[in-house]
């Protein structure tokens, strides 16, 4: 596949005029050796720990001693009978699926706006995109200054209108959504840029033809824009799902998982079980649950959307 037009960065490469068959000659070593270092690194730092994690999840290891006892399925039984597990899984799903819906909805709206003829387009794009490059931990701290109870910027406004200040981060019904919101705010820019590129790739001819046929702008959006954007939707949904389901930094910065377990996700819970409670065997079991959840949800979304791409 020498599809040279697909890359925006492409510099034309002169292809040599002679296309004589190259003499097959052994030259030192086979170039497949070049990926051997990668096999070693990935096996040592990813595959081996992954398999070892499955083993540890069947033990009562405390995280530091030299011995660990095999306890069979006990960690998994504990996981499925502990009511907190469901709360934590629910939070993880809100972080993952909630941010995905918000980022894609708002990201698409912003992309449509930026695709219009307007002033300050480049500035707007830069500002919306800026949070993407900032560490999520720092982004969590910044929003902490806005949401915090004492002297938080949002409470200044609430009290200005004569209401009592609200302890938003300490409220279990609200803080999970605030964290979802911050994650959305931070990574909206990526969805916006990908949708913008998708929109700019749609030929104007389609819209002209549809206008001639008397199609309304909603009909045009539904029947032209949306189907042709499905490849961009696939990418955005899958990235946002994986990112949201493994959310960690923002939670640590804003609530540290509290109050109690209220805003805990699988990743922050694992961290606490391992480092604060020496419950490493159980933490490993939670890690495996998280792995399964992420793989199943993101693969399902990927396969479903790829099918839609084919239909479109």
């Amino acid at each position: 596949m020498n599809n040279t037009s697909s890359s925006p960065h492409l510099k034309p490469v002169e292809s040599p005029e002679s296309k004589k068959p190259v003499p097959k000659k052994k030259r030192g070593f086979h170039i497949n050796w070049l990926y051997v270092p990668v096999i070693i690194l990935m096996s040592v730092f990813i595959i081996y720990p992954f398999l070892n994690g499955v083993r540890i999840s069947f033990t009562n290891w405390n995280g530091y001693s030299q011995t660990m006892n095999w306890i069979g399925l006990d960690n998994y039984i504990r996981m499925f009978t502990d009511p907190n597990t469901w709360l934590i899984v629910k939070n993880t799903l809100i972080y993952g699926i909630g941010s995905t819906i918000l980022q894609n909805g708002i990201g698409l709206l912003y992309a449509i706006l930026l695709n219009k003829s307007m002033k300050f387009r480049a500035v707007t794009r830069t500002i919306v995109y800026l949070p993407v490059i900032i560490s999520p931990l720092i982004m969590g701290y910044i929003w902490y200054f806005i949401f915090q109870y004492n002297g938080g910027a949002l409470n200044d406004i609430i009290t200005l209108f004569g209401f009592e200040p609200a302890n938003l981060l300490g409220n279990p019904d609200v803080n999970v959504w605030l964290i979802t919101f911050v994650n959305t705010y931070q990574f909206l820019g990526i969805a916006m840029i990908i949708y913008l590129a998708g929109l700019q790739g749609i030929s104007k001819d389609y819209y002209e033809a549809a206008t001639l046929d008397g199609a309304s702008s909603w009909q045009q959006f539904k029947n032209i824009t949306l189907p042709l954007l499905i490849p961009s939707i696939t990418i955005n949904v899958v990235i946002n799902l994986i990112n949201g389901l493994k959310l960690f930094d923002v939670i640590i910065a804003m609530t540290n998982g509290g109050p109690g377990y209220a805003s805990q996700s699988l990743s922050t819970m694992m961290y606490q079980l391992y480092f604060a409670r020496q419950d490493a065997g159980y933490a490993a079991a939670l890690g495996n649950l998280m792995f399964l959840i992420i793989v199943i949800i993101s693969l399902t979304a990927l396969i479903y959307l790829r099918r839609k791409e084919v239909e479109a």
């Binding site: 596949m1 040279t4 697909s6 890359s7 492409l10 490469v13 292809s15 040599p16 004589k20 190259v22 030259r27 170039i31 497949n32 990926y35 990668v38 690194l41 990935m42 730092f45 990813i46 081996y48 720990p49 992954f50 995280g63 706006l113 219009k116 003829s117 002033k119 300050f120 387009r121 707007t124 830069t126 919306v128 949070p131 490059i133 900032i134 560490s135 999520p136 931990l137 720092i138 982004m139 701290y141 910044i142 200054f145 806005i146 002297g151 910027a153 705010y185 840029i193 990908i194 990418i235 994986i242 493994k246 694992m270 391992y274 480092f275 890690g287 495996n288 792995f291 992420i294 693969l299």
Partner: protein, 273 residues
């Protein structure tokens, strides 16, 4: 009519920008206030006081952290470029069944979320004596970002570097490695730029690995130093805000200068990833 519409879109755009800039504005006002100033975060103080910044810099040991960040990021990204492009070359050029399987396996590793293997990975790093060392965290970063790097390089070599180029060089008697370094690698500049930006940004901003593997004060990176600083001084909002501002500044400056590469690089990485 069209002019009216343009005005409407522009007003909408300005509204969006203003809404998105609020957090940065609040961070600025907060970081310039001294600890006895309880005025609203929406207002800038009427004095100019940089002491929060100098205090945050020394108390959070930001100098050490910044140095560690630079070292870790530079080594990791360099290793990713070298290992990733070298591995991608045979994968893109030799279309054997083995290489097909290898390519799919490499890329499939992308789906393992790093935190899910936290417990065994941490145990392994402790066992090999890598805790609080830069080399261990670099190796972990490199391993986890290699799949995306290989994916980007392989796709680029396949679609834009003609095979005839290698063949011509081979006729001239160059070895495969010479061909790679002298002929192919220089043509990979656009994708190398994307790799530097994507992996550089994630390694630079990393917290989830650094907080586990770099617990010693001397080994802290910016995010770890900040999180410790934050839990220690959380009552002094001005001080921790100044720390946060200092912590994000290097990345913001780089972004503002190389903006177009960031936007092109990140979207190419995610479009293909």
């Amino acid at each position: 009519m069209d002019k009216q519409k343009k005005v409407v879109w522009t007003i909408l755009g300005i509204t969006v920008s203003l809404m998105h800039i609020i957090p940065f504005y609040i961070l600025m006002t907060t970081s310039f206030k001294n600890s006895s100033d309880f005025s609203s975060k929406w207002l800038f103080p009427d004095y100019l006081d940089f002491s929060n910044f100098s205090n945050a810099w020394t108390q959070a040991q930001m100098g050490t952290a910044l140095f560690n960040n630079v070292v870790i990021t530079v080594i990791s990204v360099t290793a990713l470029i070298v290992l990733g492009s070298l591995a991608a070359y045979p994968l893109a050029r030799v279309a054997s069944r083995l290489n097909k399987v290898m390519y799919i396996s490499f890329v499939a590793v992308m789906i393992v979320p790093p935190l899910t293997i936290l417990v065994p990975l941490y145990k392994f790093i402790v066992d090999i004596g890598g805790l609080n060392t830069i080399w261990a965290v670099v190796l972990v970063h490199v391993s986890f970002w290699l799949p995306l790097t290989i994916f980007l390089y392989t796709g680029f070599i396949r679609s834009t570097i003609p095979k005839e180029l290698d063949e011509a060089a081979m006729i001239d008697g160059a070895s495969r490695l010479q061909i790679f370094f002298r002929v192919v690698f220089p043509l990979l500049k656009p994708v190398t730029a994307s790799v530097i930006i994507i992996t550089g940004m994630f390694v630079w901003n990393d917290y989830q690995f650094s907080v586990f593997f770099l617990q010693d004060k001397d080994a802290h990176t910016i995010t770890v130093a900040l999180s410790q600083f934050f839990s220690q001084y959380s009552n002094d909002v001005g001080l921790v805000a100044a720390g946060s501002l200092l912590g994000m500044l290097p990345m913001v400056i780089v972004f503002l200068f190389l903006q177009k590469y960031f936007i092109a690089g990140l979207s190419s990485g995610s479009v293909k990833g």
